[in-house]
Symmetry: C2
Subunit: 351 residues, 2 copies
DNA sequence: CTGAAAGCGCTTACAG
DNA sequence: CTGAAAGCGCTTACAG
């Protein structure tokens, strides 16, 4: 069982077996053939644990993680980072290390990317926010044969890439289904996009597309209006919103990002009743409103799990050539008041 | 770093360090104290991988899995078994082995339990279907210091026990929330329990309790009627069902087990319209009806994941004394047509 | 082109 | 009560 057995059966030393297994030079055609035959016959598979035990001390596996800043107290990005941290901790004794690089905008992204390529990382986990920069990173990584996983957001790139993210289009369809169930087929629906300094996010665009497609496919005669708000500065109620509040009484609002918690207070102020809300992400404010019934559904992207699984799967790829899960579709998890997770136990699944 | 360093710092041999670490006898108080001090100072933690690498060859970790029969083509129990298989495969190179025992009823359960205790298993994964037998198993395991994890179903036992299962009461509440959103507060609701030979299942009872509690808590004036059907033999439409079909036009049906797929055909036959259905489990027939819109929501218990995580967490307990996750609350996963997983990728999460 | 030896961190069996 | 040696399966550095 193992390299020793192969060596014995093939009548060579374990050093030679190792050379064949790693496709290293310095083995005669003859010997190689002999060894490969035995490997195949006994159905050898490498003991990754033993391998890493040895390598942990001499050849670390180093991850570069390039994500948005997490300094902000309620930063969403704390969550994937947490998942990454947990994965790294689990793999620490197998010689895994990580460096974090946190960007602010496309320019800092570029600068940190340069820094990353100066050192020799074995794999990169990042976020595809900027098309040009993402393409550059992927290109440079490919040339150096460094695997990359993009988490959270999928955008179209020039080369095939690995994404661990929720399918935003699908999530939008799910939101359509949920609101439709509550509001009915004669309703008036609103899609609310909250924009930050960078403008609208790729995920939000896809979510709206999916939402609209849901109603299109179902052949229902519903009205859907989109409202874009800028979140730079104070959140103010515009004229557009006021007319919106005055629409007939069956309403469904789909907030395409994590800010759905901004709506209930405003709706109350304007005495808008019977309005259902679907939003994204289990942040504290959103959960509060799910709890008190002012938000009806939240969609969870399992951000912790995304980070965790990106590292784990890259590790499997690097150590076992198992790249089967470098692309991962995170399920669209539907949360209501009654199934929100509390306590560490439930969250354990998502890490 | 490691046992060697401790030995050097404490001026003893690694053998002695090992004795202290494993609380073995044959170390003088003096030496022990000295060694413990160093261990504490350098914040030593054992390298589990190295440990298992050695032990894999001399001391296997053997799991006994005692679950209902999986022979039946569509057996639900194939799923946890699959998850268990995957976990065992992942841990194989660390010396993990498993034996499966499949029972039919309480008597075969008892017989297989006896068989299990004849050999020396390191841990047991089973299902708490039979109160007496479960208590006996737990008691005997406790006496031999063998950890046990019950999956799928939680029942009250005489001693504290580990459960990896979905909270059925909570799942019932979720079902209430979902149907309520669709049917409204003046609706008439039905709870349908499908009984097999063993009578009603503990999970079904809890699901119904949660469902009813949801409406009680929400203070809504709704009618809820329970109908129990025996599934032994043919599924027939009873007089009771017929009166039920004739009730006013807003209807919600909560099927407390995996058989919700039996209803759509019957409702059609009796021309019952506008009736919403919530059921459990992503079996093929249920998914078909979710797809074609005849079932509105399905609740997933992540059976694969339950099996997987039971093994993984028992392994962590046995090798790292980490028993923090032997009790696990599997999230109540809400499925609609738009977020049903297809293909292996998505299911990867649940294994 | 090939082999023998040392070592990763831990465990065990044996010697004293 | 304590230590020295051998070994888990793999990798590396060196010798020939």
């Amino acid at each position: 069982m193992g390299i020793k057995r192969i060596a014995r059966l093939a009548n060579v030393s374990i050093g030679t077996v190792d050379r064949v297994l790693h496709n290293r030079t310095g083995v005669s055609k003859e010997t190689e053939k002999k060894v490969r035959k035995v490997i195949k016959e006994i159905g050898y598979t490498k003991n990754t644990t033993a391998s890493r035990l040895k390598l942990a001390s001499v050849k670390k596996i180093k991850f570069a993680v390039l994500i948005p800043e997490t300094k902000n107290k309620w930063s969403y990005w704390k969550l994937p980072k947490k998942g990454i941290g947990r994965a790294v901790k689990e793999l620490m004794e197998l010689g895994v290390e990580v460096d974090y690089f946190e960007f602010l905008d496309s320019s800092t992204y570029k600068g940190l990317m340069d820094e990353i390529f100066l050192k020799d990382y074995d794999a990169i986990v990042t976020v595809a926010f900027f098309e040009n920069e993402s393409n550059e990173l992927l290109d440079r990584a490919n040339k150096k044969d460094i695997p990359v996983v993009f988490i959270d957001t999928e955008i179209e790139l020039e080369m095939p890439a690995n994404f661990v993210r929720q399918d935003s289009y699908k999530a939008g369809r799910v939101a359509g289904r949920l609101l439709n169930g509550l509001v009915g087929d004669k309703g008036c629906y609103f899609v609310v996009n909250m924009l930050n300094d960078r403008g609208i996010h790729a995920n939000n665009v896809q979510r709206e597309r999916g939402f609209r497609k849901f109603f299109e496919d179902s052949g229902q005669d519903v009205q859907i209006r989109t409202i874009n708000y800028s979140l730079s500065g104070e959140f103010v109620v515009t004229k557009e919103m006021e007319t919106w509040f005055a629409t007939d009484d069956r309403k469904g609002i789909f907030v395409t990002n994590s800010k759905s918690h901004l709506l209930p207070r405003i709706l109350e102020e304007y005495q808008v009743k019977n309005t259902f809300i679907v939003g994204f992400d289990l942040n504290k404010q959103n959960l509060k409103h799910l709890e008190n019934g002012k938000i009806d559904f939240l969609i969870n992207q399992q951000p912790r799990y995304q980070g965790y699984v990106a590292i784990k799967n890259l590790f499997n790829y690097l150590t076992k050539q198992d790249g089967s899960e470098l692309n991962l579709d995170i399920p669209v998890e539907i949360m209501v008041k009654e199934n929100i997770p509390f306590g560490p136990k439930v969250f354990a699944k998502m890490i």
